[in-house]
Subunit: 358 residues, 2 copies
């Protein structure tokens, strides 16, 4: 028997396997073909209504009295003659101790590749849900682009809106958030990073935006209804790029297009990532790792998206093979203190014939 | 040495101890007076800027090369002559195995009461942050109440807005969400449950709302800026309560007021909870646990609120002692199929002199 423990946020596979959105911790036992969801009494009714393809239990229904979820896991193992419990890497160590001490079970971290692999290859229903979120992401990106385009620079180069307001990263993020929320999605960590801020890929951006600098906008909202994520990055400029900035943008666009053109079922992900690296290097866009920050292209080319914003497969040095119906980002970028950051990201579905951009 | 592992969502103590908001997993080592935050290279710059009262490291800075966070934890233990590592209940079992196998360490689940207790008693800064979120919660509640009051019932008792739209739980939740988002808070799981729906405390509510039924509205938003939560419940009705409904409401209000009046530093939480139970029973409002659902009062009277929506202390059968500057909810409720659900909840600060309602 294999056990997952956690809630919707800490263990997204619980929603994947049972369809149940768990605000509080629950246990899921996968035992051959049978899946059992164990929730507390307060959630019992809702869990029975909402869950799919699983047996739903609570301590009272399993034990005939109030009890802990750990008691239910132990009781399940005893009733089904299991003395070995397999769990995920993230399984709480405290719970391991309880199962070992109270029920004399042996708990091991299992290879969960089967689950990761199942989650990587999306069903048509999952792809439709992700596409829905990505449509919202696209709408929010358009609104952000229009807002930036509508501004004009003042004497010190700051972008100013028609009503005299100075355009800040915060204002653009607010605009993006309102579009997302209007469509029942929440973008908690949108990046709107101009100039030098765009060079630090984990800088979310703050303060006034300026003319003639790259503005990286990375929007990754989660649907509050279906739980799936979208992910899109565009790089804007209000003004005129320098020659170096234009070259930087063009080569990222080229890397993005070439990477997408390479996608089809059966391709090795590292071939795509290495292609991006090679293109950049052959065109003189080098990557350096300093003590404090890196320059060039220092992240992976993409990652899977689903019930987590980052999930398998990775499009990086590692050699995952892409399969039909995987949903991944393609997001090459180049970051230099001198010219700013440029990243272009789309979400695609892998098919036998190539990539379908969502 | 004591180690925490996780991100902002899975391990809120990380933000509490370091001030750092971690989208990806990080490690925090508490070793006597010294706290060390270990992040991946991409987060290193931001972590150094944002964190407080701790030393910030990444694999490259600690090991001189790329590596895993587990390698950094192991390296820290070796350098500081620790062969025992203490961890939280939720510490990943996979990480325990790596530390034991690769670094010959003994990993134990520690009693983390010291941390839970530190988090329970809020600083003035934390109380100010929670009060800010609670103000937003209050604004959203007012907006919801006004919306319900503005409707008039049609022939079949459904509430209808002035423009002819039927008022649904979803519409009220949308209104609430827009108020929250306008103030940089997100309410993911607001409850707007009318009639029989209000009897299931984990039913979020759906479909048309009706006249002459209790509508339970429970709003618990989280600030997207400071990470703290608010929590408030009110029970509305558009129409006229029956005598039984009015008695139900009045006794919940009385239980709420009496419970708040009992709050001061030094009081035993179970005395408050038992007082609510006794008041209900003495007035004939009994609690029964059926196979499928309970009726009466079957949840605790309150819980702590901070960087988690549910944290210590619990105001329940358990005998936690309340201390000055704890922030807790007081939320008695009564739920009957015949009359619907009524819950009244406020967030209060415990002081030496009594409760201060936020």
């Amino acid at each position: 028997m294999f056990v997952l423990f956690g809630n919707e946020k800490t263990e997204p596979s619980i929603r994947y396997l049972t369809g149940f959105t768990a605000p509080d911790d629950v246990a899921v036992i996968v035992d051959g073909d049978k899946t059992t969801l164990i929730v507390n009494e307060l959630e019992f009714g809702r869990a029975k209504e909402q869950s799919k393809n699983c047996d739903v239990q609570c301590p009272t229904s399993m034990l005939g009295k109030r009890g802990y979820l750990s008691d239910c896991i132990g009781e399940y193992a005893i009733r089904n003659n299991h003395d070995v419990v397999e769990c995920a890497y993230s399984f709480p160590y405290g719970l391991v101790n309880e199962l070992e001490e109270n029920f004399n079970l042996n708990v091991f971290v299992a290879n969960t590749a089967w689950l990761a692999k199942r989650r990587m290859v999306k069903t048509d229903d999952e792809i439709a849900k992700i596409a829905e979120v990505q449509q919202v992401t696209h709408k929010a990106m358009e609104a952000a682009g229009e807002l930036i385009a509508s501004a004009t620079p003042n004497a010190s180069g700051e972008l100013v809106l028609a009503d005299g307001t100075i355009l800040t990263s915060e204002l653009v993020k607010h605009k993006i958030r309102m579009v997302c929320i209007e469509h029942n999605c929440i973008d908690e960590d949108t990046i709107v990073a101009g100039g030098i801020q765009g060079v630090n890929p984990h800088e979310a951006g703050h303060g006034p935006l300026h003319a003639n600098e790259w503005i990286v906008i990375d929007i990754f909202p989660r649907s509050l209804v279906n739980g799936y994520w979208g992910d899109m990055t565009r790089t804007f400029m209000n003004g005129t790029p320098s020659e170096a900035q234009q070259r930087q943008y063009d080569i990222v666009q080229q890397a993005h297009d070439e990477a997408i053109a390479k996608v089809h079922s059966g391709v090795i992900a590292s071939d795509i990532h290495n292609g991006v690296n090679t293109l950049f290097e052959e065109n003189g866009f080098y990557t350096t790792y300093g003590d404090d920050h890196a320059e060039g292209f220092f992240h992976s080319t993409g990652h899977g998206v689903g019930l987590e914003i980052h999930e398998g497969p990775r499009i990086s040095r590692n050699g995952d093979t892409l399969e039909s119906n995987m949903v991944v980002t393609i997001e090459p970028g180049l970051y230099y203190t001198a010219t700013g950051g440029v990243r272009i990201e789309d979400l695609i579905v892998v098919t036998d014939d190539g990539a379908r951009v969502l």
